[in-house]
Symmetry: C2
Subunit: 325 residues, 2 copies
Amino acid sequence: MVELAECFGPVEAELNALEQALGRELRTDSPALQSLVRHISAYAGKRLRPALVFLSARACGSAPTAEHMKLAAIVELIHTATLVHDDILDDASVRRRVPTVNALHGNQVPVLLGDFIYAHAFAMSVELSTPEASRVLARVTKICCRGEIEQVFERFDFDMDEEAYLRVIEAKTAELYAASAELGAHYAGGTPEQVEALSRFGRLIGVAFQVIDDCLDLIGDEAVVGKSLGTDLEGGKLTLPLIRLSSLLDGAERAELQKLITDDGVEDRRARLAERFELGAALDYSFQRADDFIRDATRELDVLEPSPARDALKNVAEFVLCRKK
Amino acid sequence: MVELAECFGPVEAELNALEQALGRELRTDSPALQSLVRHISAYAGKRLRPALVFLSARACGSAPTAEHMKLAAIVELIHTATLVHDDILDDASVRRRVPTVNALHGNQVPVLLGDFIYAHAFAMSVELSTPEASRVLARVTKICCRGEIEQVFERFDFDMDEEAYLRVIEAKTAELYAASAELGAHYAGGTPEQVEALSRFGRLIGVAFQVIDDCLDLIGDEAVVGKSLGTDLEGGKLTLPLIRLSSLLDGAERAELQKLITDDGVEDRRARLAERFELGAALDYSFQRADDFIRDATRELDVLEPSPARDALKNVAEFVLCRKK
């Protein structure tokens, strides 16, 4: 089991300073907005994307600068905006053990709050010394939305294969990981080879992260994972374990699986899925695919000089895998 | 009655070219996204914000450049993203005589589509020669979301006064008009005096526009206005005509008005409002306030040299008022 301290050691000071920076950034004199910002500060996760910004800078041989602090805040804010909007899409009621904004206020407020946070992140990116970050992050946000839109239109599409699934999760999740590592390296003066390798590293761990997230949506414990689970199944999102399960079934069983996913008003679909089908092999396969991506990611780090930051990035990759436990 | 041709004459060629530019900008190889983009092209309105960009450039003595064409597309895209998200907030079913995206696809798709269009607009703004547009437009988007969030939290707040109302509509509507005129002038090399006067001009006509929009929400004809009306009343948004009406009523009548607005499940609230209350004086007052803002706006144009573009801006201001008819 990899502990986060092993991953983040070389950039612990920066990650602590980031917490202050995020608090400062979203301060506002609007009481309504301030109460929302305070509420979603509970969504604070592992800060993986900011850690990628800082560690990538260090792995290219430079101490993180004030620009990296801004970049780290920006990628975390973009991620936060995505969460706020995702909870509307998934009709989720719990996020990091607190009620979602939509659960508290309906759908109007989180639409606007997400827009506000995106706009704030873009406003921050404009303050950097070069337009590279603004350009990359606006492009990534577009790709992410496009991926999510395609996923909505592919709901209940039982012909979706693993390749199509990987394309969607790369767009909706992995591109922001890639951008975090890439921009961390770029603003540290990394060579094009280093920047590109770290971008691929970020993308690969992002894909692995999402594969495991999608497995946890089916089998995780809400009390441990800390957010609404089973939402993919409720929304008809065909994720890797389901695609694999479907491919392992005979015709009659496959029809039954499709019925379980598509029928209206099935109570506790997750429990019924686990009761009726043997999920083990499909989950093992999915975790193995995540493992493959992590191996590929780790190999990308070979172009970097050995350093504590490079070791920490390897640990981050291992940590992503540990979430399955 | 002012015709749009009188307003837009000096920049007709640019506005025609804009239609091509907008079509090109949103082209994508994702069939799902392309069908959505094609659908919302029917939302195309009067292109008032792009016209402000072009006319402000000309009124400062410069022909619009390729940068103005990009700016015009950007402000129109930001406006479009706002409409797509607004229709979720208002639970609106019709926009410009076509079904809204939420009416067709539920709330997931328009959340993502609006995010995509915002991100595209920011990506375009990064391509301009200076970061001024990105800075102004990210700030304006933040202000707009903040204004909308405050409006949501002030629903059913019968203590809201005209001043608080004006603050909200300035944020949610008028700032983007102000930015359109300001950036048009700025990227044409206008003097600080010209840029600031045009910014104030834009803000004032934006406020007038919203006041009239809010009157039409109460008394307009859906077939003429072309969008869902009565949504403010359904959502408990207290707009100027309602604030004024309330101030003209005695205690018992005011309680009845509040009951009409707050009671659940009232059918056709708009018709009941018109039947039960004499709206004339409150509407006259609101239109008079819009007229005042337009007079103030027109005076801002005095710092500009006389030109066909300056005359056209005066006509735009008059056109905003004509919508009440």
